[in-house]
């Protein structure tokens, strides 16, 4: 593979800023940072054309560690900051880094509207099911009954499913990966970057200080083949250490079946990330541990008009039909009179 000679070949290290990384030792954020640095060189976008925008939270410190442009904004508002940036600077590659609190609690509305507008930005939500930076309160993704500093008797709010929400508000690219599943994570990040429109990725991320092991079921070598299922476009849903189990549709309900014993791959649910209507993606987003293996990969990837593109098209159209703006004409558009 040859690279364009005008672009220097970058390495992951070129994307490291001069700031010390200050997450807790062992935090899942490190791995996401590493994968990001790894896939960026392959995008062929120069560093100065990239902007990382974040809110507030441990995860939101991310931009400081990237040798690109970056804004560590205020709590929950990164999708809005990114919207203004991307709408006015379509030439930039814009990433939003957020957490389960930043993105789904205080920032839920901005996230929802960024997704429905389908701007060409990539949103990565680090889901550790806890508020890390403020030292351990429950978050909108903490399970019912979760005991935390603010819920000594257990949480009583039904948790949100980030992907169900993203799909509920017209997401065009919706995916999930896991901090420790580095190859998969890299693949998903790369596909998100390549998608035109808002890409939304949930990454299961371990907070080893305040919520250690929240995703152990999905990361443990022993169990992960049974508790997760990798989605591949056009392929049947198969999982298990021996790839001997699958997901079949019974009416509108998924069910686990064993392959063989009269059930073949063809009986299984086939993944279609390009389905025009998001109902399948939605159904997959409802499959949760322990009842089901949790799908990882790309749930949905469809092409839809993008806000930034449409906005700029309207600008071009306005100039075409009405001519480049002329102040003199503007000021004199209505009735005028002359005093001599």
């Amino acid at each position: 593979m040859s690279t364009d000679t005008s672009l220097p070949v970058l390495t992951p290290n070129d994307f490291a800023s001069d700031q010390d990384v200050r997450w807790c030792p062992g935090c899942g954020d490190y791995s996401i940072l590493a994968q990001m640095k790894k896939i960026l060189p392959s995008l062929g976008v120069p560093r100065e054309k990239m902007v990382f925008v974040s809110g507030i939270g441990c995860s939101s410190r991310f931009p400081y560690y990237m040798n690109t442009y970056g804004i560590h904004s205020i709590h929950g508002r990164a999708p809005a900051v990114a919207t203004g940036l991307k709408a006015s600077r379509p030439d930039l590659t814009v990433w939003v880094i957020t957490g389960d609190g930043d993105g789904l609690s205080i920032g839920g509305n901005h996230l929802m509207h960024a997704i429905r507008r389908n701007l060409d930005v990539n949103v990565v939500l680090f889901n550790n099911r806890i508020y890390g930076l403020t030292k351990g309160q429950y978050s909108p993704t903490s399970p019912l009954g979760k005991v935390t500093k603010s819920t000594p008797m257990g949480a009583i709010d039904n948790p949100l499913h980030p992907l169900s929400i993203a799909i509920g508000c017209e997401g065009t690219f919706v995916a999930r990966s896991i901090d420790t599943n580095i190859k998969h994570l890299g693949m998903v990040l790369k596909r998100a970057a390549e998608h035109r429109g808002t890409s939304f990725i949930e990454v299961y991320q371990n907070c080893n200080v305040f919520n250690d092991g929240a995703f152990e079921y999905a990361t443990d070598r022993e169990t992960k083949a049974d508790t997760t299922i990798e989605l591949e476009h056009g392929k049947p849903l198969i999982f298990g250490k021996n790839r001997d189990k699958g997901i079949r549709l019974n009416g509108m309900n998924p069910e686990i079946v064993e392959l063989g014993k009269g059930i073949s791959e063809d009986d299984l649910l086939f993944h279609d990330e390009q389905a025009p209507e998001p109902s399948l993606a939605y159904l997959l987003s409802r499959m949760t541990y322990p009842e089901f293996p949790e799908p990882i990969g790309v749930f949905r990837a469809v092409d839809r008009p993008m806000y930034d593109e449409l906005l700029n098209a309207q600008i071009a159209e306005a100039k075409k039909t009405r001519g480049e703006g002329d102040l003199n004409k503007l000021f004199r558009a209505g009735d005028t009179w002359v005093v001599e």
Binding site: I71, I74, G84, D335, V338
Partner: protein, 625 residues
Amino acid sequence: MATSTGVSARESKHASKPVVDLVAATVRFCGDSGDGMQLAGNQFTNTSALAGNDIATFPDFPAEIRAPRGTKAGVSGFQIHFAAKEIFTPGDQVDALVAMNPAALVTNLGDLVRGGILVVNKDAFDDKGLKQAGYEESPLEDRTLSAYQVFPVEITRLTRLAVEELGLGVKEADRCRNFYAMGLVFWLYDRSLEPTLRYIEAKFGKRPEVAEANRRALRAGYNYGETTEAFASQFRVHKAELAPGTYRNIMGNEATAYGLITASIRSKCELFLGSYPITPASDILHELSRHKNFNVRTFQAEDEIAAVTAAIGASFGGAMAVTTSSGPGIALKQEGIGLAVMTELPLLIINVQRGGPSTGLPTKTEQADLLQAVCGRNGECPVPVIAARSPADCFDVVQEAWRIATRYMTPVFVLSDGYIANGSEPWKIPDVKAMPPLEIKHPSPLTNGEEFHPYQRDERLARPWALPGTPGLMHRIGGLEKQDITGNVNYEPANHQHMVDLRARKVANIAQDIPPQVVSGPPRGKLLVLSWGGTYGACATAASEVQAQGGSVAHAHLRYLNPFPANLGEILHRYEKVLIPELNRGQLRLLVRGEFLVDAAGLNKVQGKPFSVFEVVDKINELLR
């Protein structure tokens, strides 16, 4: 004088009735919000402007979209002050009032001057209408109106008659009543029908029968004045002596939008507006969204927080970032504005103030958001604040705000208010070619591996506005305290003190970069009237009236509220007394007293309405006594 649009001579060349010359007059149209009073007001305004008068207008909308017909809550009004001299307010009292129904009469009569002209639509004074207005008996039949020249006209019946032949339905016919009323008032003030006839053609040209009906109603009203014996005389207000130039009429929000576009062009910075609709600011969004051919990007955000933070994102990207709102929306933006202060990015925050607190009185005017602008954020968070004084002044103020924002890398507050936003006045169209550019420098690429310092400062303490896309300038900014020069996150005590002081000094220094405060009237003496914002007209007029009567009063109108002009303290101390009239409970007064230790008195009115000139005059005289 000539009109560029070739307005023809007046409709009725041979007035059969005597014509009284006036220096100025004030007319108000009022009626149900469905009665088209805003349209009538706008047409009269436009016609008077084209006739060369100076004008000032004051539309007054009901809070409801369409309150039930005929109720007091549904009354809509539009006042026009037009004069053969320079004027600054829409007039304290009304010389001629047109009331389309009893509810309009009861809510507006108080402003009609004794002996003034009152035209009422007699047909609307039926039992139902009277009851809705709270009249037990018809005011046309008892002595309620004995102090005025009352002209009960069967506007409904006569309008229907005028359009009869066109075969419109009753509803449609009745929609022409405002044109009938206009025609009558046009006759009364000897105005040309031409501009309105042109308007009708442009607006209703595609529905010829509607256009024709409106034309007939207009002419019928005019002829009613001319031919019936009711009206004894006509009035005429000659053209005013305005500075030479081409003029147009402009509303405050429109001027704001034009000023923003102009600043964008002057600074070669594409305009990005992040906004969420709110009365009375929405029209800026509406206006700007129509001018995409000026590279204007308007973003109707999901809320005010998204509006301001999207603007911050755009500013980071190098756009001319603007956000517009009114009081409650501004409250929501304050956290975001703090981010702009910390990241030192240029941003305009335009607050078209309305009555508060809370949701308050959305369609009414007030000046009660000054302290919110100056003090309303967490931490030491200085933001320059400047205020427009009149509809046309909005054009200049926003450009000045953008000059400051970019020279100092800071968010800037612009205060307007409902009164100037919806009011209008003649505006001398500026010479576009003569406008100086607003120069903005962005640092150039660094390619030799040199380190870029995003918080390095120039002589004005401004940091560089480095744009994404520029090689070698990659940097990260955010809301945490920054280390001086490097911009890295830093929590050290001495650095924090340094940065807090530096941000304060940067804003304070702007005082050196703005014109010194001017005073009109005696340079020292008994009383200084110090005003700001939309009360300019009333205060200037009041001060000059008292001056004309020989009172020792001067007037200074503040455009810059943070920082104050460098010479303000010195000015204040040259007068025995200082009076600060405000449409709030004394917000500028607190700041002035706190900064200059001057025992300033206040004239404070919080009624959702502007000052009348006489209120200010009375207070001045009281203090001069």
